[in-house]
Symmetry: C2
Subunit: 137 residues, 2 copies
């Protein structure tokens, strides 16, 4: 997880090096705020002139890494989010698996935040929940 | 990847055992059709009466594994998809990274299908693309 005011480049490095599909973004007081999906950061790899005219994507010399650090330098995680960030479902540490599945299904979110006494103690991914459900036979 | 007419339970087992956030669904001729996200399968864990009244989620005896196999027995992958399945972006095996990023950013999809001579040869995830972009420094 990363804070809303963390450096954008640090969040991207976490997504990249751990190969995460997304990362939990927390408010300054530590409460979970939303998820930043890796797919949402990828747009910072695409130069503006390619966004305007996709046919130009094939004719490019500039390095991706330079583009990424240029675009993200000095920015915070907050600036990577869309105007309407996804609601992150949360469950209590003592909720049962049906409650977790219901929270996840309601928002179709690939992960839920697990809260214990107002603190984020972890996350549960959809695939982990399926694994537990199948393994419990 | 799984075919549209594969057994639903096989697809769920793949998502669960390999902890995949999603799986590519192919048409009967092998062309990629869409992605089935693990988060979309989780709803089959939730009994109808809990979907109607979430407050009942806490009072449950039945095993999750039984519910899952009951609900998915005899069903195909096609029946797990929503009415409006997400478009899966695809790129050519010799496209450059900007082209891949542009395809992914356009549909905000966490993965793209890589096609070579009309055949699906693999997928690239958003986090893998970020990893390559940072590593290329």
């Amino acid at each position: 997880m990363v804070g809303l005011d963390s450096a954008a480049l640090d969040a991207v490095k976490l997504l990249a090096t751990r190969r995460l599909p997304g990362i939990v973004v927390t408010e300054t007081d530590g409460r979970p705020y939303t998820v930043l999906p890796a797919s949402q950061v990828v747009r910072f790899l695409v130069p503006g002139y390619v966004q305007d005219d996709p046919s130009l994507a094939g004719v490019l010399g500039e390095s991706l890494a330079d583009r990424m650090s240029d675009q993200l330098a000095g920015k915070t995680v907050r600036s990577l989010l869309t105007d309407d960030p996804a609601e992150l479902p949360s469950v209590a540490a003592d909720d049962n698996m049906i409650e977790v599945a219901a929270a996840m299904a309601r928002l179709r979110c690939p992960l839920v935040a697990v809260m214990d006494n107002g603190k984020l103690t972890g996350v549960i991914t959809a695939s982990r929940l399926l694994e537990l459900a199948l393994g419990a036979r």
